[in-house]
């Protein structure tokens, strides 16, 4: 069970949180202007790296706030926890 540091509540067991999948996927501002392929890419396609992965978590059974986590998927090491809207601290990805 991961130990996740909520930016507002501090370190808590994973059981208090829910994972919301890959972070930094912005909803297109004009969906109607997109091709089917571009929309499908937003809707369905996610990266699946072995290594650092930026993902969204919510402290479901705590403060109920969302934040981003940079986690190494191979080792489960948590490299960073940062607020929504902030860029990836390692400068990778979008």
């Amino acid at each position: 069970m991961l130990l996740i540091t909520c930016p507002w509540c501090g370190p808590r067991d994973e059981i208090e949180f829910s994972c919301g999948g890959e972070a930094h996927i912005t909803r297109p501002s004009e969906p109607e202007a997109l091709t089917d392929e571009a929309w499908a890419d937003y809707l369905f396609n996610r990266t699946n790296p072995k290594g650092p992965h930026a993902e969204r978590w919510v402290h479901t059974h705590g403060c109920r706030r969302w934040f981003n986590v940079l986690r190494n998927t191979a080792t489960n090491e948590i490299l960073a926890v940062y607020e929504m809207g902030k860029p990836r601290p390692d400068g990778e990805g979008s």
Partner: protein, 1001 residues
Amino acid sequence: MRPQRMRLASGGRIDRTRPLSFSFDGTRYQGFAGDTLASALMANGVRRVGRSFKLHRFRGIFSAGAEEPNAIVQLESGPRTVPNLRATQVELYDGLSAASVNAWPSLAVDFLAINSLFAPLLPAGFYYKTFMWPKPLWHACEGMIRRAAGLGRAPMDPDPDTYDHLHAHCDVLVVGGGPTGLAAALRAGRTGARVIIADEQNELGGQLLNNRQQVDGSLGADWVATACEEFVGTANVRVLTRTTAFGHYEHNHVALLERRTDHLGPGVDGVRQRLWKVRAKQVVLAAGAYERPIVFRNNDRPGVMLASAAAAYVNRYAVRPGQRAVVFTNNDSGYAAAADLADGGVPVAAIVDARLEAGDDAAALAAVRDIEVLNGFAVVDVKGRRQVAGADVSILNDEGAATGGSARTIGCDLLAVSGGWNPCVHLHCHSGGKLDFDSDWACFVPGRTPLASRAAGAAAGVFELAACLESGFEAGARAARAAGIKRRGRARKAPAAERNSPAPARRLFHVPSLKRGGEAKAFVDLQYDVTAADISLAAREGYESVEHVKRYTTLGMATDQGKTSNVAGLAILSGVLGRPIPEVGTTTFRPPYTAVTYGALAGRDVGDFADPVRKTPMHHWHVAAGAKFEDVGQWKRPWYYPRADESMQEAVNRECLAARNTIGVLDASTLGKIDIQGRDTVTFLNRVYTNTWDSLAVGRSRYGLMCGEDGMIFDDGVTTRLGDHHYLMTTTSGGAARVMSWLEEWLQTEWPELDVRLTSVTEQWASAGLCGPGARRLMDDLSEDLPLDSEALPFMAMAEGRVAEIPARVFRISFSGEVSFEINVAARYGMALWNALMTAGEKYGITPYGTEAMHVLRAEKGYIIAGQETDGTVTPIDLGLERMVSKKKDFIGKRSLSRSDTAREDRKQLVGLLTEDESEVLPEGAQIVAEPRPMPPMEMIGHVTSSYYSANVGRSIALALIRSGRSRVGEYVFAPLPGKRVMARVVEPVFFDPEGGRLHG
């Protein structure tokens, strides 16, 4: 009671003043406090304790610990029975009753032992080859095979015991309380670090309890007692005995199982087992090592035993494991075992050492006791069928093969074997730790780990006592420091033990048989009867990956998970494939290390505590009225209110008729309610609902549909504008939490700039829904200040006022198609409101109705239920709700509605179905076909989503999702059901008052 004929007169960690009686396979015996079931059986001279899994050969006690593959028992009977326990770990208590698991009908007369004669017909992969195809054969034989497979039986009755969970945090968790773990805990404890030390046995000490080595000049066991005293005086060290660390998870989450009362017998008061969830800053793995066997022909006969286990029985339990021993070893530790046996009254006929030379200290142990040592020899076969009667030995050549030279048979009834040691690397590997190969000892040792965890002592491949103590001491110091403890603490010198001058071990896992076909009786996995021949066969048949060999042969897949067999199996595979052991690799180590009861995993989360129950403020009234309840999410909702001996259908019919002809009243308190405030609420609603919200006036309500971004319906409900920037959203009863989380997610992650605040108010309001022709009259009677006529309070409007003198919000919303008033009051007035309605409504024939009638009434009108008509693959258009989908604005899911698949013309669409036989009620979920055939396969074109008998319509009605359904209106379709085929006409999905005149009333 028979005498304990193999018990030594003195010594051991047993209490001879506390005799305990017990029974095994129906025979009564006596043992002593401090015994395990295995040591007590051994004391009574019981050699055969089980039958093997496949071949049903006799098996005897093989080890003295968690690795035991043979002595597997079913403990006790009835609801407290536990299957598949290792007798070597079951502490004896008075009245204990156990049975061997893998013999039918009894251990002595085993019908299935006939399998043994057919052994050549049961090679590796036998079950796969014979029974996976053709399927009918497997079905015919499955029951027989499963029973023959034996192993324990799960209890059939509810578990009467209590279990609990405990969360703990510490700086340093030490797993294992042997010399290494003790040294680590002592050292870390002295720095002031919060330490937990856990050991699976009844007392700390590990191997020091089993042998006669000295620490700091005292007998090991005495030094252990001193260490324990230090722990007692140290508030920051917590000692957990009878506690197994069974899983090591991410970020040093370690799960421990503490057996609190098992050693006292069944039915003792208190918590039987406790699951500890420990979060440790640092972990020291001091779990020790297993001695490993050597594979040779007939190495499974009762009386073949690990050498260290034989010594443990003598030293710790004061039991002679045999009358005359032969020790077969490839390393120095066999000599210490031989010395312990000899000193404990078991004459050692010979030490068979695969090496040409032993270490000086080891050799001296044999020399002073006049034990014959056969250097460069190996045991090649075992005499005796029911138990060991002798060991056939022969000279080994340089390649490790027996030559047949100098062959002789040495009479013995105990063959103690040491093939070296395998560090217990399980916990290290549970969470991504890698293994390195130690070629000196030919064993896997812990390598890199992503966790703040370190192995020490034998668990790290350090097998000498003095080095183990130093390794543990060092690990304790480092762990405390890494956990951030600055103090270094007193007594910084490691406990000392004598240093020996050992000779290296010889790599020998397997002595090939001199007999043709002898490998088929050379057992690698004792519990699942996997032989050296099976592994060779698997390799010859092309199974080269160790994971494949494991599954094909079942090597290591039994309840012992291959603790004594995996490495030997790998070594044999490596030999057949001609690849070095580390290249062959290991199988994966997964938690749990040893089996964990479901009771402990569930803890207190059983029965009433399994899931919270939510009740409305009017719940007790419903109970008193005799309502039958239905679970909706966690809510208990009245399902229907049967009178006298009404059937369910009769009650539902009566409730449905009342709702349309007089007055019905429904407890609607469970409906999800979200209070929404903020200047951007309209913008927000426009984005999350498919329809538009700009024009909604204060005091007016609107029905809304929510989709996921994939365009599929997610939830629905009515939202009312209470003020300029204040709205009340309702959701489905079961979907309230999901919708709340969904809205929060969008607000926080995508649209943080919106000024919108959400508050769940579901439980703050109680709600009673009145409907039917008499509803307005009753409202009139109970309210003075509320406008009730259709001009002032039309359909889809809301007014605030008093109902039965209670402040209320009254909504003209309807889920029945009748004139309706949904009265919301503060939850604490819910019961008062309900009582007032029932009392004042009596003269109008007010009838409470439950969820079943609610479902029928809405289905009569073709109103959908999200989650019943929808299943995550249904769009608003599929349901004929195009009018709900705005063309003007964007909303979540809109773009998906024009994706090629979502825009298809031939999607499943909502229609009504009327069966030809009006009394026939289709089962919900029934598949629909256009062209029925006598037998499947048939092309399915849809399914029934809702189906009821409707008293108001006077016949059965159904809703269904059918491919191109709207273009099929008027056509006939079929539902193939068991034993019959039902024909139905496709109709519009509205069965009652299609014009909707009654709604506005």
